[in-house]
């Protein structure tokens, strides 16, 4: 079986909206964690002001198809409504060098 894929999603979030963003992210995570192919997720926050992205989520999914099905599933839009104001930069990645 292939290695899980890494979803990396960098979010543009103003400094003062950190708590609001985290609450919205948690709601989305709780929904996605119920979907087939979900492996894990880890939300990272910049430790100092000035980063282009205050938050970066690093998650794992079994396959690209699983991830796509999850974000096209009926409950996703409602679960992610709170994230709508934060511009995301998502991509599915594989490890190429260490």
């Amino acid at each position: 079986m292939a290695e899980p894929l890494t979803l990396i999603n960098a979010f543009e979030v103003p400094g003062e909206e950190a708590e609001q963003f985290i609450a919205a992210w948690e709601k989305t995570r709780d929904y996605l964690a119920t979907q087939p192919g979900y492996v894990d997720t880890a939300l990272h926050q910049a430790v100092m002001p000035g980063a282009d992205f205050q938050f970066v989520n690093i998650a794992h999914w079994q396959t690209a198809e699983d991830f796509r099905a999850a974000i096209q599933s009926p409950g996703f839009l409602e679960s992610a409504a709170g994230l709508a104001g934060y511009r995301p930069h998502p991509g599915l990645y594989q490890l190429v060098r260490t």
Copy 2:
């Protein structure tokens, strides 16, 4: 001792320049790996076209000061010269939610 910090650096790289970018990244990695506080690094490549960032590097450093010292050290600019054409979006992060 505090947990190592996570450096996340998303690079804007045109699709056709992947090999050139990887070679330049490897040269920079070889230099940074000699510096105090370096823990590890992992270069991720998008698995399909269309991601805003073809490459995202996820590394760990013992402290923010170690990372800053490394990129201000005399050998860094020369080692990283090949990356100059690729716009980076670096930040130091801590894990806040899983």
